[in-house]
């Protein structure tokens, strides 16, 4: 069985195409007597000359031979029908009855995975002309797009996802739910390493595995870009765990890395009176300043690292012995105030575009968490070890076996995910024979 679940159309275009069948199987019947009037519409309609109205509903039950398809054949003259919405219809008007199915098109999971959950997530085209949302409805429970008027025969109806909802490249990932189910199938049961386990336990260890792997094995793909405000601070992302790179972007779009400074911070500034005594509020709590003096001074310092390094460069004669390389750069510095949840930047990056590359744990967002297929085996081994090591009466050799297997699987995943390509390595190593100049 193939693991790809989407059709090529579903993957590349994010769409499903249908062909309209127009008024096929419809019948026209005259009304017998008008209904409703201006300002007072009615739902009751009396039909005339209804021969030929075949209602597409099968009839089964006691007394009917199962091998015969019984269906309502017709509704006799003078029969009343009720509309679901009141209308004004004159006498002897020809009404056309079109099977509802002619206007309903069901979206399938081989084109959309997951299926749209609301009407705004996709656009609908008929013969490449976009349709307004008033011309169709969407029923989530049945994944059905229903048009107010049935599209004409041979019309091409295309339901297409918006760009934001496309999931290119998702074949490289496996969903958390699939991992849990695969684990239960392969590892749990009589005669297997784990005889019985609660699904919640598996889910716990699977999610812990994803968290741990996100920290140092999986490739971090999270980043945020902002223009640095005058406050020279940036709020930590909602799903922030740790940073991998903080940089500003130059005019050519190149990222200039910044380095953390260890020589300043943003402590809590305790308010004092003129006698240097602490000031308390009416609750007896110590009052604190909104901004610490340390941060104020660092922020307002115009003699930035860059200027310092430039000034040093001017008098760059002779040896530079004893320089501290952590501060010997002019790209700017930052520090993270973990209590305040903000990154503070040095003043020389004021007004610049800042990009923060960071690590999350892979579980922050709604929906099914995913893990790269290179790390799939590592997750299984992690779960197995997690479950076995927390149970009593499991032989120690079993726990050790899975500990080793987990370690090996994680290492293998890390090597694979480090994305080493022989050609790229060769290119890098070509500079190896260069003489290092001093």
């Amino acid at each position: 069985m193939a693991l790809q679940t989407l059709t090529n159309e579903g993957y590349y275009r994010g769409s499903q195409t249908f062909l309209g069948i127009g008024n096929a199987n419809s019948v026209s019947i005259d009304t017998n007597g008008g209904v409703g009037s201006a300002g007072s519409p009615s739902v009751d309609v009396t039909l005339d000359n209804v021969a030929g109205l075949v209602v597409g509903m099968l009839v089964t039950g006691n007394g009917l031979t199962a091998s015969v398809a019984y269906k309502i054949a017709e509704i006799t003259n003078g029969t009343d029908i009720k509309l679901d919405v009141a209308a004004v219809i004159g006498d002897d008007v020809s009404l056309t009855f079109i099977p509802i199915t002619n206007a309903v098109f069901n979206l399938t999971t081989i084109h959309f995975d997951p299926l749209p959950t609301k009407i705004g997530e996709f656009s609908v085209y008929i013969n490449n002309i976009i349709q307004t949302t008033g011309t169709y409805t969407y029923t989530v429970a049945t994944s059905a797009v229903e048009f107010v008027t049935a599209p004409a025969a041979d019309d091409t109806i295309s339901v297409e996802l918006g760009d934001a909802d496309r999931e290119f490249g998702n074949y490289q990932h496996i969903k958390l739910n699939d991992i849990i189910n695969n684990f239960l199938i392969a590892y749990v049961g009589e005669g297997k390493v784990i005889t019985k386990v609660k699904k919640a336990d598996v889910a716990f260890h699977a999610q812990r595995a994803i968290q741990e792997l996100n920290y140092d094995t999986l490739r971090s793909s999270k980043s945020q870009e902002i223009e640095i405000p005058p406050s020279l601070t940036m709020a930590l992302p909602h799903d922030y765990i740790n940073y991998t790179k903080v940089c500003w972007v130059d005019n050519n779009g190149l990222e200039i890395p910044m380095y953390p400074t260890l020589h300043t911070s943003n402590p809590k500034g305790i308010l004092q009176d003129s006698e240097y005594r602490y000031i308390f509020d009416s609750q007896g709590d110590i009052t604190e300043a909104g901004t610490s003096e340390t941060w104020k001074k660092f922020k307002d310092d115009k003699s930035s690292d860059k200027e310092t390094i430039e000034s040093l460069s001017k008098s760059n004669t002779g040896g530079r012995f004893g320089i501290d390389p952590t501060i010997a750069q002019g790209n700017g510095t930052f520090f993270i105030d973990l209590n305040g949840g903000r990154i503070h930047f040095s003043s020389n990056v004021s007004g610049k575009i800042i990009t923060l590359h960071y690590i999350s744990d892979g579980l922050a967002e709604d929906g099914d968490a995913v893990v790269h297929k290179f790390a799939e085996e590592a997750v299984y081994k992690y779960i197995a070890h997690g479950i076995l090591s927390t149970r009593i009466q499991i032989p120690e050799y079993m726990i050790n076996r899975y500990k080793k297997e987990r370690f090996a699987a994680v290492r293998k995943a890390k090597i694979r995910l480090s994305n080493l390509k022989s050609q790229e390595l060769a290119q890098t190593m070509r500079g190896k024979s260069k003489q290092i100049k001093h």
Partner: protein, 253 residues
Amino acid sequence: MVLIDTVYQKVLNILNKEQRGYITPQEFNLLANHAQMDIFEQYFYDINQFERVHGNQTEYSDMLDITESRIALFETSISLDGLGRKTDNAVSTNDTDFSYFSLPTDTYRIGVISYKNNEAERVTQNEYLLLNSSQLTKPTNTRLMYVQNGYVASNVKYVKIRVFGLNELKHNDDSDITITYVRKPQKAEWAYTNVNGNPLYNVANTVNFDLHESEENELVIKILALSGIIIKDPSVYQVAVTEENKNVQQEKS
């Protein structure tokens, strides 16, 4: 299905050998259901036992497969009845009520409860509270949980469940909730009409044994053993028990 009349005739024949005794249809019906439930309940323990021994790959003779196929005759799958219930079992269509779902009254053992093809796992109330308090273990719409309660109304015992996904499932979700369960065997009855003081077999009102055909001998032996007690003949009981033990030894050793 095992024909109850065949079993009854066999039991009578064996009992009447050497004029030992006779059991009436009422007595037989009582013993028949006792024997049926005894055999039926034993299936579940047999599966537990056979799971722990090595099976075999033969087509017809793997004991686990055999026992599972016997239980399969009673397995049923249905969507819930479309009625959410309040704590007092009254039908409710109010979304704000707790949504207890009543299980079918012939439920013997619950198998799988699923919502839109996602299996719900049975947890106890305290486990649910604990699991729900952790972001890593709380139920989701693809990893559901259910809590089971009992409720007695008008001397009828109902089994009720509450199903938890991302939110607790309400009455309007229950057509998507499917339950697979093992139903109780039908109450077997050798029906008769009284003709001149003699019971005359009434096939129309008879309810046969629900068990697999292969259980006919087992039923005869079990009913015989119980009959031996009724007619106070230890030798009948002894022979039946010996026969049963021989079968058990052959099947399970």
